[in-house]
Subunit: 184 residues, 2 copies
């Protein structure tokens, strides 16, 4: 599988050449052999899971797969979306780019604040889930752990850390981020 870097810093995602591949101007994009482009993360991951089923990243039963998809979605929609709002509505370099894509949306300072609150709240949800489970979706490593690792690393980069009283988040984070693939 060839990997092609897109230079987001210089705005390559808005170029006509890249928009022909990803009209939403977002990465990542998976190009299939027949030229079809898939540019939504979950769709890409599920496609790759079908093509390379071992080791599984979604689980081994319908229930496990549903739980992994549910938790990965929660991390994205509650955690990562809050982070995106916090970041894109406050970073000076992203004025006029409060959302990804070709349309210019102005920053909304109140939305940056709300995003911060969502991140803090989602840390609490994750702590609660990890209280009863070794991994985010249960007793198996899954796509939900990968999405959650991205969430935590991004949050800490934004200087929002684990809640002080978190007991379960840290050992989960240490275990998951120590996996060789976490540094790939």
């Amino acid at each position: 599988m060839d990997k092609v870097e897109v230079d987001l810093a210089s705005g390559e995602q808005f170029s006509p050449a890249f928009r022909a591949i990803s009209p939403d101007c977002v990465v990542p994009v998976l190009e299939l052999d027949d030229g079809t482009h898939i540019n939504e993360v979950l769709a890409i991951c599920q496609y790759l899971e079908e093509i390379y089923p071992e080791p599984t990243l979604f689980g081994s039963t319908p229930k496990e797969r549903a739980t992994a998809v549910m938790w990965s979605t929660k991390v994205e929609q509650q955690g990562l979306v809050g982070m995106r709002d916090a970041f894109r509505n406050s970073a000076k370099g992203l004025r006029g780019h409060a959302l990804t894509g070709p349309v210019a949306y102005e920053q909304i300072p109140e939305l940056a604040e709300r995003g911060q609150q969502q991140v803090v709240t989602f840390f609490e949800s994750l702590e609660l889930q990890l209280e009863g489970n070794e991994y985010v979706a249960g007793d198996y490593f899954s796509i939900a752990d990968i999405t959650a690792l991205v969430f935590v690393d991004f949050a800490r980069w934004l200087k929002i850390d684990f809640p002080d009283d978190a007991v379960y988040l840290r050992p989960w984070y240490d275990a998951v981020s120590a996996r060789p693939s976490a540094n790939a």
Copy 2:
């Protein structure tokens, strides 16, 4: 499969009994035989697809399934989220409930405006996609059509209609909404 109604108008989704089932205070929730609760729409639909694979709502090949998931996600994240923002940040009855869930988020009027713009923009994306495809994900009826039908019906309820110059949206809408299941 038993169906249990949750009275959102009276706030039943915030009751301790329902929060034990759906901590995010959202519907729908699928309860599995072992008591597991799945409360994310895509996870529920994919679980049901596994249990009842015929007729398929996701497609018959890895490529078709990836395309259906991609488009259903786009409808949700670009169309329905814009609608949610437009509605929840302006409706008088939803003050303090700009997001679903147990945390009180105040309305942000600028976000209501942005949501309206997103809905209009997403109608254009959908029109463009339907120019080259009979259905949203290609030449087969899929979950993406169902999600898009919800989007259009909700938009029209909010008095945002097809763009005047839309050519492909209307016949698609008429065909999809005429299916017996659309009135189930």
